[in-house]
Symmetry: C2
Subunit: 156 residues, 2 copies
DNA sequence: CTCGTTGCAAAGGATTTGCACAAGT
DNA sequence: ACTTGTGCAAATCCTTTGCAACGAG
């Protein structure tokens, strides 16, 4: 079958995307991308921390400014996405398709949901307001089952 | 008719809610609440700015730390709500019912939508994950009609 | 060799916090 | 009077920026 199927997109090497824009492939960029993929949802800080761990006591990890710059770049290249979950902590993820995230306000837990959850809402907004929803940046907040359960038992 | 109808909730004076918790009614609290009501959606900074304007060159406005502390308090009292629109900028609003906000990522414009927009999505999440969506904190981001139009003409 | 990249350090903006004084009740 | 609330200033947190040295193509 085709060597350029739809799934090949995100799997395509970082190198090619960089090349096509006259940008350079550096070890730092590969490491940042790898970290985003490894940690499913991570803040820039968490990514920095991870890189520091990986590097070990002797090796050197990318500077935090480099992490920020590269996250921005990787997003422009379409290799990662970021979402705001609430209070100042964007999380980055590397899935191939835009996800929809739900966050528990109590425990901070994150779950991913199929993006079609909002299809009907998106259609209504498009029809009524001409507003195009960017599903990838949406995070719904609320309470997860576990926390709801706990709240109930503590607050009878 | 009952003197404690469901609509009387948000209209109930700030004073009573404070009293019932042993808290005090201060000029600052009244001003902060008034500002949130006046500015439909405002960041803590905008609220502070507004209070400074209102005070005029001679009068004194509440300190920003007081604004933050009181916004938090008013939210605990159920008189205001806050929503995160994306990058670190919480907005406060004082409507009686939770609203749903949509934000344009280009122009920053905010529109309010009826909360029932997400009813079906909320039901699905409840059924499938046991997750309770807090509609009041949800902000959908995307592109408004005007910005979409502009983007089209600039990028043919 | 040339120009994009990185690290370091310093600048910034937005909240938060500790405290002594001022103000509600 | 007693206790909560406020202003002020310092402390944080997270992110961005300027610049000289470094390294990929």
């Amino acid at each position: 079958m085709g060597s350029e199927g739809p799934t090949g997109d995100a799997a395509a090497p970082l190198a090619e995307r960089l090349r096509s824009q006259g940008l350079r492939l550096t070890a730092q960029r590969q490491r940042v991308l790898a970290a985003v993929e490894a940690l499913e949802h991570a803040t820039p800080e968490a990514i920095g921390a991870r890189l520091r761990e990986e590097a070990g006591p002797d090796g050197s990890a990318p500077d935090s400014s480099t992490v920020y710059r590269n996250l921005e770049l990787l997003e422009r290249l379409g290799l990662v996405w970021h979402t705001h979950l609430g209070k100042g902590a964007p999380i980055y993820h590397a899935s191939e398709h835009p996800h929809l995230h739900v966050v528990c306000a109590s425990c901070g837990g994150i779950a991913q949901v199929a993006p079609d959850l909002l299809d009907s809402a998106a259609e209504r907004l498009a029809a009524e307001l001409g507003f195009t929803v960017d599903v990838g940046h949406v995070a719904l907040s609320g309470t997860c089952a576990a926390c709801r359960e706990r709240a109930r038992s503590e607050n009878p």
